[in-house]
Symmetry: none
Subunit: 411 residues, 2 copies
């Protein structure tokens, strides 16, 4: 279907934040087979919002509007739409009941505002305390989503895309899509590996989405029947796997931490960490997965050398002879972590995240790792490009990837 | 002046890349005192580009268009504009001469295309091999910039902003803006506190931007002269501070971690952590600040109870009697961290991040903290709402805030 996206907010027109919600909507709508010819961003002014919406409805089959659904005085999307489409605001008692459950409600009577929607609005997640609704206008759906990125994304994936996929009048052929997650290969490298798949015409589309430290690849397949789509999807998925091999660590909602955690769980092994330059990020990624206490014992974030010595038992002489960023220090850190944390496997990370601390011999981005297991120990040194947060992110993901690759071989 | 921004490119409407050029243009135009009421993104279709431009010219005093100026077949901005504004394409021999100097020219005869511009075009950097020109339409300037971010940014700063600043008929009022960062107060609560400031008309605008675990507030002030804008800004800033008190932790580029770090640095105190449910996030936030090794010694991420006992010295009896999530356990964790990490201050965090592990007495979101200092120790219990990542984020920020508030009182 032909769609348009409208983002609302002075924070966008004043360039205070980058418009990530329209980008998210466009990429997923495109991947699902829709076409977006026009995207608009307007400030918090009712007239502008209404005009933009009417223009979009005149051109497109559906519209996604983000932002301006909150309870503060600058949230005026509902008011603007009620006026522009002549759908007077109506009180939704069931929304009000949900809002009243919030502890914050007593302090903030303005929250009642969120229970007033344009007449005819269908709430997208009625059971949850989340703004977001749909209106029909001349049989065209208009989706109103919060501007808060994580809520917007959740509603986009759980509600907007499924509703559009089955919308009557949709001339969409059946679509099957999967996201593949790749670590350790660059976008251009992946592009080269998958180039042959792009020569199948419109029925098969490959998308490349570079993230901070990894690349997500989308495979979108269309067919006239679900059987046709499924068959074409399976043959292409096989080709993707064959091309990316071990660089492909997961798909869909997988993260490097969830995939590595599942392998640890399956092998019944417990992991411990000794982190210096990542400062706890690898531990945080692991513990972001619910149930990680089954296979993760803990991490010693040994930022100061005294902690490397006192808690992890690194020899002072090792630090003097080789420096804190060295495979020798990494080796002793990993051994120490395995012992004091009561773990089966341990990973250590010590490096120079920058912006300062680099030398000619060990420039910013140099990171040493050690992986110790019940019957082996191996050190690694990598050079990561980018600024401090990116070096930390790449190092943490690499630490997980070392465990993942070890378990794939030995698990 | 009132401006509009149009970004051209299928890579934007298909969500392949995030639109960073419009964001860059908006933030710099806003800071220079211009107002952007509308931004558009259109795909590589001549009709759409022309329509978007004519619409923008009907509403605004100037327009910035980015993208579609290259030599490939999908670069059609010049063609679209020549048609829409009736400015037939004209051959620019001086541009052609520059292009022929390029080594790549022999291989790509299509580059000649870049020497054809709409009649009346003024090249923005005539001496350089860079696309980018200006057209006048009814005395309104239209700037056409390449979509390549670094070229676009260079022309924006070196050409567009200076030309607009001296454009005749410019009735620019001067703008002063600041961002205030708030923790511990909700968006609606802040809105209530700052409501009186919103009653000053167009000269003073307040924006509310809820982030995961905090709220950013923008104060934007306009005046006819810089002196007027400055005076109005200072009186309003004072009111913002008076209203938000200690909930206001920083401004501009400050983060909770950078503000707390600066206070630790000033007090010459070193911090250590014992983290359970945050899994290293608080340490990661602290070490995200360059130079944090001056005041941060490390963290023991004690996910397993064995680590709480073995590394931090929590008594087994305490865990049995009160549970891992208790003020008693938090107290012993903080003491142990202070000792083994050689720190002056230590914070411990132990809680139930969810989704499982909650009980009637200690529901998901219950988090216990302890802050131990050279001469005091205090425990706290908070209940955070939201899903696992949000509970973790709120707990980590709260841990930092406890240190910040202690140092404000005792530093």
């Amino acid at each position: 279907m032909l769609g348009e996206i409208i983002a609302v907010g002075d924070e966008l027109t004043s360039g205070r934040i980058v418009n990530s919600t329209s980008y998210f909507a466009a990429s997923h709508l495109f991947a699902a087979g829709h076409k977006i010819a026009h995207m608009a961003t307007v400030g918090d002014e009712a007239g502008k919002i209404g005009t933009a919406l009417l223009l979009a409805l005149g051109r497109a089959d559906f519209v996604v509007v983000t932002g301006g659904l909150g309870s503060t005085s600058d949230d005026i999307t509902v008011e603007a739409v009620a006026e522009a489409l002549d759908r007077p605001q109506t009180f939704y008692p069931e929304i009000f009941a949900k809002i009243k459950e919030c502890k914050a409600f007593a302090k903030m009577p303005s929250m009642e505002k969120m229970a007033w929607l344009p007449s005819g609005a269908e709430v997208l997640k009625p059971g949850e305390k989340m703004a977001g609704f749909m209106l029909r206008y001349e049989e065209k759906p208009i989706f109103f989503l919060p501007g808060v990125p994580n809520q917007m994304r959740e509603l986009m994936l759980d509600r907007v895309l499924p509703r559009l996929a089955t919308w009557k009048g949709s001339s969409l052929s059946l679509v099957r899509q999967q996201i593949y997650k790749v670590f350790g290969l660059g976008e251009a490298e992946i592009n080269t590996l998958l180039a042959p798949l792009e020569e199948q015409g419109d029925a098969v589309r490959i998308g490349y989405y570079p993230m901070a430290d990894e690349v997500h690849v989308s495979l979108t397949v269309r067919g006239e029947t679900s059987r046709e789509a499924e068959a074409l999807f399976l043959s292409n998925e096989e080709k993707v796997r064959a091309a990316l091999v071990e660089g492909l660590y997961g798909e869909g909602a997988d993260t490097m931490a969830s995939v590595t955690g599942a392998l640890l769980s399956k092998a019944k092994l417990r992991l411990g960490l000794a982190e210096s330059c990542t400062g706890g990020l690898m531990a945080h990624e692991i513990t972001g997965v619910a149930g990680s206490s089954d296979y993760f014992t803990g991490s010693v974030v040994a930022y100061a050398n005294e902690v490397k010595e006192g808690v992890l038992g690194v020899q002072q002489q090792t630090l003097v002879d080789h420096g804190a960023v060295s495979e020798e220090t990494a080796r002793e850190m990993a051994r120490g972590a395995r012992k004091v944390l009561g773990a089966d496997l341990a990973v250590s990370i010590t490096g120079i995240a920058g912006p300062t601390g680099g030398t000619a011999e060990k420039p910013v981005g140099t990171v040493c790792f050690s992986l110790v297991t019940p019957d082996s120990q191996q050190e690694y040194t990598f050079h990561f490009s980018g600024k401090r947060p990116l070096v930390q992110a790449k190092a943490a993901t690499m630490g997980l990837d070392l465990v993942r690759r070890y378990l794939l071989e030995h698990g």
